[in-house]
């Protein structure tokens, strides 16, 4: 599978593909065919995709090539194959959230991020698998079966954006979109050896993202390299009048100065997760700190005990919002309907059959937490904890430009290892949840391999709208890490073998 010394164009990343297509060195159609070829060959064993949109993708690729031929700029992501998490609305294309309750539903509109990608010349190849309604950390909660980790098919890719992370790790697409409510981009990025960015809340429009927990949900990007994830983020970011929580700022420039280094930057290495994460993960974060120090940053350990308020607060606030957001799936207007003698019974039967166990569990937790007489003790307390956490972050950012932490408590675990114990599964998001509660950006960058040869990511956290400096630090970590920690690089290194397990 080689194509000269540089390998396949598809493996050279977002910026290289767009450059080659815009300059006429390559065609969007060829890049797309390469991507679809790999998907057809390998996705049966990975199950990254719920749905492929080959015809629409081919038509879009032809349009891009046509533009180039006519001398019209097809946009900054010209010809870049992209995968969309299946909780992003796509006009006329089935959008399921990997739930039986939405099976067969075709939205009459595109999510804002989907239109922006298209306008930028990107080629959407399909919809990726997820934990049902983005509730989970392993993609095992999909109604359509799990996604498998390209590094080891007996292991999970993480979740909930497991399909999008694995599709990039497997080299199917150059970039993909996920959504991150409690770590659903960064955790699978870490487990799949790719880069995953959760931007500042409000930087990317949520219009067309099917809501899980509205005050926490944020769309972000995956890619093999920091710069490529940033290039895709630049396209989808920026104010959208259709989302009232969208920030007023225009899309920031993220690529400028990306490789300027970290000399003089103040980096705080968060020490509070040590007791709860595997040694390999804390060591990766320590090593990342040392690498940054060698590159000129001032690295210091910092304890922010409020970080540990994150998980319990999250498991009140997120289910509470979810219980309300998911009320609309009642069998009346769209999606699944299981009939009954009266409307209440129809509602109840539809929801009992349409939702999986984890979704039902969270809807019940959330309903309970908001109930009269319990609101103050649960939701009210959780909001107070959230406020304390935000203040603690703000105080930390007076002393540091960015913070550094493990992304996950462990590398990829085996399928089924945590499905019997929801609490243990919830702990997968211990290190990622605080950024969702604070609304601040964070990125997971692959940095090490554990003794089993599985990738481990580290997280760079930054204050609101601190994406530029955050990604600069991410790029420095990437430069310091061995290329062997990245997904497609591993596939190439294996000498033309297909992904492990094929």
């Amino acid at each position: 599978m080689s194509e000269g010394t540089e390998g396949h164009l598809l493996d050279r990343g977002v910026r290289a593909i767009a450059h080659a297509v815009r300059s006429g060195e390559a065609t969007a159609v060829n890049v797309l065919e390469e991507a679809l070829g790999r998907i057809h060959e390998q996705d049966r064993s990975l199950h990254c995709f719920n749905l492929l949109t080959e015809e629409a993708a081919l038509a879009a690729a032809v349009r891009v090539d046509d533009s180039v031929a006519r001398g019209v700029d097809p946009g900054p992501l010209a010809g870049v194959p992209v995968a969309l998490k299946d909780n992003l609305c796509t006009q006329g294309i089935e959008t399921t959230c990997s739930s039986r309750i939405l099976q067969g539903w075709r939205p009459p509109y595109d999510a804002t991020v989907v239109s922006r990608l298209r306008q930028a010349g990107a080629i959407a190849v399909g919809k990726t698998n997820l934990d049902e309604f983005a509730m989970g950390s392993s993609t095992e909660n999909s109604a359509f079966g799990p996604t498998y980790n390209p590094w080891d098919l007996t292991r999970v890719p993480g979740g909930s954006s497991g399909g999008s992370a694995a599709a990039v790790a497997a080299g199917f697409v150059a970039t993909s979109l996920g959504s991150d409510t409690g770590g659903s981009i960064r955790q699978p990025a870490s487990l799949c050896g790719v880069v995953g960015i959760k931007p500042t809340y409000g930087l990317v429009s949520r219009y067309g993202l099917i809501a899980f927990a509205s005050s926490l949900d944020q769309i972000g990007t995956f890619a093999v390299e920091v710069g490529d994830a940033a290039a895709a983020l630049e396209v989808i970011a920026g104010h959208d009048p259709a989302d009232s929580t969208s920030l007023g700022q225009p899309a920031p420039s993220l690529l400028e100065g990306l490789y300027d280094g970290v000399d003089g930057l103040r980096v705080g290495l968060i020490s509070d997760f040590l007791a709860d994460v595997a040694e390999s993960c804390s060591k990766a974060a320590d090593d990342a700190g040392e690498a940054l120090a060698r590159a000129g940053a001032k690295v210091e350990q910092v304890s922010i005990p409020e970080m540990l308020l994150g998980l319990p607060a999250y498991y009140i606030i997120a289910p509470a919002e979810a219980s309300s957001n998911l009320a609309r799936y009642d069998g009346v207007r769209y999606g699944l309907r299981v009939d009954g003698p009266d409307v209440e019974t129809m509602n109840a039967r539809t929801r009992a059959e349409g939702f999986g166990a984890e979704v039902r569990r969270r809807v019940m937790i959330g309903t309970y937490a908001l109930s009269s007489g319990y609101y103050d003790a649960y939701y009210g307390q959780a909001q107070k904890a959230r406020t304390l956490l935000i203040r603690a972050f703000e105080a930390a950012y007076e002393r540091f430009d960015v913070l550094l932490a493990p992304t996950t408590p462990s590398a990829a675990f085996r399928l089924g290892a945590k499905t019997a114990n929801p609490i243990e599964m919830y702990l997968s998001d211990l290190c990622t949840i605080p950024s969702n509660l604070s609304g601040h950006p964070a990125v997971s960058v692959p940095f090490a391999l554990d003794l089993d040869g599985l990738p481990i990511g580290v997280q760079v956290l930054a204050p609101a709208l601190g994406e530029a400096v955050m990604l600069r630090v991410g790029a420095a970590l990437e430069a310091a890490a061995s290329p062997s920690v990245r997904g497609p690089a591993r596939v190439r290194r294996a000498g033309g073998e297909a992904v492990p397990g094929e």
């Binding site: 509109y109 219009y207 067309g208 207007r333 409307v343």
Partner: protein
């Protein structure tokens, strides 16, 4: 056994649809009477992934209502009110809960009483369900239901009164006044028959003099002022009967049945929904900036209380309260003010407007005040009888024209007083006995003599002139 006297305590919740061009959270038309499910989009259908964006104009109109009700306008936030119902697309309603936009106002009624306003908050309307087959349009026994989502997401302001209302009549006066206020504020068309104004009544009773409230019932389905009055009267009677018999009133929601005039239980306190309110994360707080406040104040029309004051200054308030209320309700006070300014007698103007013009209110609103004044002057000067003036007025409203020309065309041209003098002299000569009785002050004979003149003149004589001629000859 002594008879305890009871008083009724009423608080009203009035839902008022705002007359914005578009819905509260999307750009669909806010329009009554369209084909079902034509004014809809992903947002007001609550489709997965859609998000609300607040309509600034709705906020401005809500603020106008707040201003008009002397409320404090506060920074506010939206909450979600969660409950399952097929005509509510998201199965939650976006409403305001513990931080509403308008709080703590009051409203003064024409009789001088004052009703407190607890709050007036913004919320979205639901769709409309029609139950088909079986139970006569009711949910029980229906074979299926049709839902029209055109109304879903239409902006509402819910105006909650304090329990300051003590009778069905006062409740009626309150709703009438509130309606006039929201119309004057340009915030709503206030049409009860189209559902743009909907009323729920919280009713309780207590022994006169008690300071504690009795257990209240919320009565729904009050689709007209008549229903409001009947429902409150019935509900108060029902509760008094219960309490008098030593039984307890159960806190519940009750449905008013227009056909029987009775209320019946919909759901008890135990069956009441737990709405699980929490702050709406898809919207940001509403901060009433100066620009919005200024726009809201500038858009306010003249409130009915102020209009009543202006008329009362002109005509005096004694014996005119009802006439003043009538002309204001019919939006004819402008006509009165203009006609008086053009020289007409104030009391006569008010009387003709409240009675005759009111019967043709729509046409009367475009009546030229100068011509109206001219007509009233003719009547005051005795050139037209009251009956003639009323006939001319009706003609002016229906077909237009100058009053003098219409009077001439109808043969109402003022009879010369010499002509009347001659008639009266002939009459006295023909009926000497009756004349003597008239001189002695017999009122029946006065009527007889007047009748004779009217018969001779075919009603053209002005009775005032005739009376004057008769009196002049009394000696």
């Amino acid at each position: 056994m002594s008879e305890t006297a009871y008083e009724t305590v009423i608080g009203l919740e009035v839902h008022c649809e705002l007359s914005t061009a578009t819905k509260l959270f999307c750009s669909c038309a806010n329009q009554f009477g369209s084909e079902p499910n034509t004014n809809i989009c992903p947002v007001c259908l609550g489709l997965p992934g859609s998000l609300p964006v607040l309509n600034r104009r709705a906020v401005e109109l809500a603020m106008r209502i707040g201003e008009a009700l002397s409320c404090r306008i506060e920074p506010s936030i939206f909450h979600r009110k969660n409950y399952f119902y097929p005509d509510m697309p998201k199965d939650y309603q976006i409403s305001q809960y513990d931080a509403p936009i308008n709080v703590d106002g009051h409203l003064e009624l024409p009789d001088g009483s004052r009703v407190g306003i607890v709050r007036a908050h913004i919320e979205e309307d639901t769709g409309k369900t029609t139950h088909v087959g079986g139970g006569g349009g009711r949910i029980h026994g229906a074979s299926y239901a049709l839902v029209d989502y055109n109304r879903a997401g239409v902006p509402l302001v819910e105006i909650v009164s304090a329990p300051d209302i003590s009778s069905a009549a006062q409740a009626r006066a309150y709703v009438t006044e509130l309606r006039a206020i929201v119309v004057a504020a340009g915030a709503s068309d206030g049409r009860m028959e189209e559902g743009s104004l909907r009323v729920d009544a919280n009713v309780s009773v207590r022994p006169v003099g008690s300071t504690e409230y009795g257990t209240r019932c919320e009565v729904k389905n009050l689709n007209s002022l008549r229903s409001l009055v009947r429902a409150i009267e019935h509900e108060a009677e029902r509760q008094i009967a219960l309490v008098s018999a030593g039984e307890a009133v159960a806190q519940e929601t009750r449905h008013f049945d227009e056909s029987t005039g009775l209320t019946h239980s919909l759901r008890s306190k135990e069956e009441a929904y737990d709405y699980r309110y929490f702050p709406e994360p898809d919207l940001v707080p509403v901060v009433p900036d100066e620009e919005l406040l200024a726009a809201a104040r500038a858009g306010l029309g003249v409130m009915p209380a102020e209009r009543r004051r202006r008329l009362a200054e002109l005509v005096g308030s004694d014996g005119t309260v009802e006439q003043i209320q009538t002309v204001i309700e019919l939006d004819l006070d402008g006509l009165v003010l203009a006609a008086v300014a053009a020289g007409a007698d104030a009391r006569l103007t008010l009387a003709r407007t409240a009675n005759e013009a009111a019967a043709r209110a729509e046409g009367a609103r475009s009546l030229d005040p100068g011509r109206f004044a001219a007509l009233l002057e003719m009547e005051a000067a005795g050139k037209l009888s009251a009956t003639q003036a009323k006939t001319v007025l009706a003609e002016m409203i229906d077909s237009g024209g100058e009053p003098a020309e219409i009077a001439a065309r109808l043969g109402f041209g003022a009879m010369a007083s010499s002509e009347i003098d001659a008639l009266v002299d002939a009459l006295i000569a023909a009926h000497p006995a009756e004349w003597e009785r008239y001189r002695a002050g017999d009122p029946k004979v006065a009527q007889f003599l007047m009748g004779q003149v009217m018969r001779e003149t075919k009603g053209r004589a002005n009775p005032k002139v005739v009376t004057a001629a008769l009196e002049a000859r009394k000696g």
